[in-house]
Amino acid sequence: MNIKLILASLAALVTGAIFVNGQDQIVGRVEGKLQKPKMAVIDFRGVGDAQKFMVTFNTTLWGELSNSGVLEMVGKTFYPLEVPQQPQDFKPPTTVAGSRRGDPPRIQKNGPWLTDWSSPPPNADYLTFGYTAVQDGRLLLRGFLFNVRQPDVASSGLIAKLYFGSLDDDGAKKVAREFAADILQQFGQKSLSGTKIFFVSDRTGNKEIWSMDYDGSNQKQMTSYKTISKEPVVSADGRTFAFTSLIKGSWQIMTHSVETGKKLPFYNPVSSTIETPEFTPDGKHVLYAASLNGWVNICIADANGGNMNQLSHVRSSEVSPKVNPKTGRDVLFISGRSGIEQLWHMSVDGGDAEMVTNGEGYVANPSWNPNGQTIAFAWTRGFEPGAYNIFIMDLASRKILIQLTSNNGKNENPWWAPDGVHLVYQSTHGRSTQIYSVLADGTHPQQLTTQGNNTQPVWANGIN
C-alpha cells in the first residue's frame, strides 16, 4: 500500500496538474458474450487462536459466494500448491540467463503469481485470498479480491479490506458474510446476508405477520392481533412494515416498526376494504387499494396515510400496486378493467395506464426486480382458473423470459430478492401452503417453512 502511495504521488507530481483539474475517464468496448466469472477462493488460515474458527469461516465464505448465483466457483482441487495470503506474496517470475554459457534464458519462478490462477488447471478469472489474526481479543480478517487476468499486481486489486468480529464462530461467520457481501458487490450483486423475508402464517390459529432470515432460520411472530392480518410489505430501508388487518368489521392498513414491533400511526380513509399497501422506494409515500366510490381502486398517501389521493378512477376492481424500485416513477398493478384480472402499468401519478399481459388467463401478485427491468407475477395462462404459475417477464419487450413453475401445485406470490437473482414464492400442495426460495433460472429451490400454512412472502433489505 505504501509503495502504491509513493508511486501515485510521484505520478501526480509529474502529471498531477492535469488530473486534479479534470475528470478521470473509463473508456471501454462492449462486445461479444461473457461467461459467468470464475472465482477461486483459497482456504484462509488464521494466526494463533484465529485458526480455531477457520472451518466456519471458510464454509460460510464459500457458501455465500456459491449461493449467489452470479459466480462459477473453481473447485479447490485445481488450486496450485503455493497460495498467496497477501498481495506482497505475489512475485512475478523473472527471466534469468541460462545456468551454463550458451544456454538460453529461462523463466524462474519467484513465488505465487497471477498466472498460476488464470492458467489451467484452475483457469480462474478472480481470486479471493487473505488471512485472519487476533488483535485486541478480536478476530481480524484481511481480505483481498484480485482479478488474476490482469498483467500485474498493481492493476489486479479490487478489494483490500479489514474486517473485525468477535473471536468465535459467530464472529467468523460475520466477517465471512461481510467480506462475501463486498465481493458480490463487485459483481453488481447485493448479498442476501442480513436480508429478511416477511410473510403470513396461521400456525397460531390466526393469520399473523411473521419474519425470518433469508435461509428460513429465526422465524419470528411480528403481530398478535388475533384476527386476519395479511399482505405484508417492508420499506426499502428495512425499518417499517405494513399490512392489512380486519379490525372492528373493516379492513385497515397498519404500519409497525421492524425493530421495536410497535404500531405506528397510519390514517385510513373511511372504507370497508383497504388492502395491498406498498411503500415508494424513498419511503415517503404509501400506495394501497381502497374502496372509495363503490370500487376498490389505487390510492397514494403520505407515509402516515395523510393527504390521500385516488390514482385510478375506474369502475373495476384494482389491487396490488407495486412501485418500480429503481426509478420510483412507475407502478405495476392488477386491474379488472379489461373484464378479467390482468397486469397493468402506469406512472405513479396515475397517468399512462396500459395493459401488460395479453388478456389471457388471470394475473396476480406482480413483483419488480431491483433492476427495474425484469418482473415476476402469478398467471393462470395455459391452465384453468386458480391454477397459478410463476412467470418472469422483461417488461420493456413484454417477453416472457421463463415460466418458473409448471403446474405442480398452485404457485403464487413471487417476490424478487434484493440481489435480483433469487425469488421467494408460495406453493400449495393438497391442503398445505409453504414458502420456497429459488434462483431466477429455476434452480436451487429451497423450502423455508413447515409449520401451519405460510403465504405472501416479501423479501426485504436488512436494517443497516
Binding site: I228, W251, S272, T273, T276, S291, S317, E318, I334, A378
Partner: protein, 270 residues
C-alpha cells in the same frame, strides 16, 4: 230299630245323641257335603284331559288383563286370561273362541273394552278390560303474547344466502328472488327492532388471488346492499364487509362447492 225297642228310654236317648253328634261333625267339614242320596264324589280320581268330563262345577274366570293399558295408535297391547271350569270361552271384538288360558296381541285403533265370556252348564262368567288408545302428540300450548324472538334468531333461521357467478358481482335472477324474501325478513325484524343492524358479507371461491377476491367480495356485498335498499330496506341499517376467500363453507375442489362459496350472506352486527 228292634234293638232300640228293647232298651229302655235311656237307650233311645243315647242313640239320638250319638246321631246328633254324628250330624254335627259331619256338618263341620265343608268339603264333605254329605248328600245321602248322591254317590261318593269323583274328585279323588286323576283328571283325564282327553275326556272333557262334563264338569258339574261352576265357571270361573281367574283373571283377564291387558298390558299396557294406554297406548298410542298403531301400537299394540297384550290381553292375558285364565278361565276355569269352562270350555266355552270367547272374547268379543271378533277375537272369538279362545282357550281357557291364553294371551292375544291386539291393535285397537281407538279405546276399546274387551269382554271375556266363559260359559258353563246353565251359568256363565264375564270379565272386561279396557285398552286406551291416544291418536297423536298434542300440540304445545300457543305462545304467550308479548315474548320477543331476537332479530338475530330470525335472520339466522330465515335469511337466505344469494349466489354469484365466477368473477362476477351481478345479482342473478335467482338472487333477486332470494333477496326479495330477505328484504321482507329484514323489514319484519326492523319493525320489531328499529335499531337492528345487518352486516352483508361478500365471499368468493378459493380460486382467485386473495387480494382480488377481497375486492370482489366487497363488490358483491355492495351489490346486495344496493338491491335491498331499492326494495325499501333503510340504507343506514346495512353495513358491508368482504371476506374474500377467507371464510369458505366447504373446501372441495368442485364447482358445487365453489358455487356455495361465491355468496352474499346476511349476519347480525356484533
Amino acid at each position: 230299630m228292634r234293638n232300640l225297642s228293647r232298651t229302655p228310654v235311656l237307650a233311645q236317648f243315647g242313640a239320638a245323641v250319638f246321631a246328633a253328634v254324628l250330624m254335627v261333625s259331619a256338618a263341620g267339614c265343608k268339603k264333605k257335603i254329605p248328600v245321602p242320596t248322591t254317590p261318593a264324589p269323583t274328585t279323588e280320581r286323576a283328571p283325564t284331559p282327553e275326556t272333557p268330563a262334563p264338569t258339574p262345577l261352576a265357571v270361573r274366570i281367574n283373571n283377564f288383563t291387558g298390558e299396557p293399558r294406554s297406548i298410542e295408535r298403531g301400537q299394540s297391547a297384550t290381553l292375558r286370561w285364565s278361565v276355569g271350569n269352562s270350555t266355552d270361552i270367547s272374547i268379543d271384538h271378533d277375537l272369538g273362541a279362545v282357550a281357557a288360558n291364553g294371551t292375544r296381541q291386539v291393535f285397537p285403533s281407538q279405546t276399546t273394552t274387551y269382554t271375556l265370556t266363559a260359559k258353563g252348564n246353565s251359568a256363565q262368567d264375564t270379565r272386561s278390560v279396557t285398552i286406551e288408545v291416544s291418536s297423536s302428540v298434542p300440540p304445545p300450548p300457543p305462545p304467550v303474547v308479548g315474548t320477543r324472538v331476537s332479530g338475530s334468531e330470525i335472520l339466522a333461521r330465515e335469511g337466505q344466502d344469494v349466489y354469484f357467478d365466477y368473477d362476477k358481482n351481478d345479482i342473478r335472477a335467482d338472487g333477486r328472488d332470494t333477496l326479495t324474501k330477505d328484504a321482507e325478513i329484514i323489514k319484519r325484524i326492523l319493525s320489531a327492532d328499529p335499531t337492528f343492524t345487518i352486516v352483508i358479507e361478500g365471499h368468493c371461491d378459493e380460486r382467485g388471488s386473495e387480494e382480488y377476491n377481497l375486492a370482489l367480495g366487497d363488490r358483491r356485498a355492495l351489490a346486495v346492499k344496493e338491491f335491498l335498499t331499492q326494495l325499501g330496506v333503510p340504507e343506514d341499517r346495512l353495513k358491508t364487509i368482504s371476506f374474500g376467500k377467507e371464510r369458505p363453507v366447504c373446501t372441495d375442489e368442485n364447482e358445487a362447492c365453489y358455487q356455495r362459496n361465491r355468496r352474499g350472506h346476511l349476519a347480525p352486527a356484533q
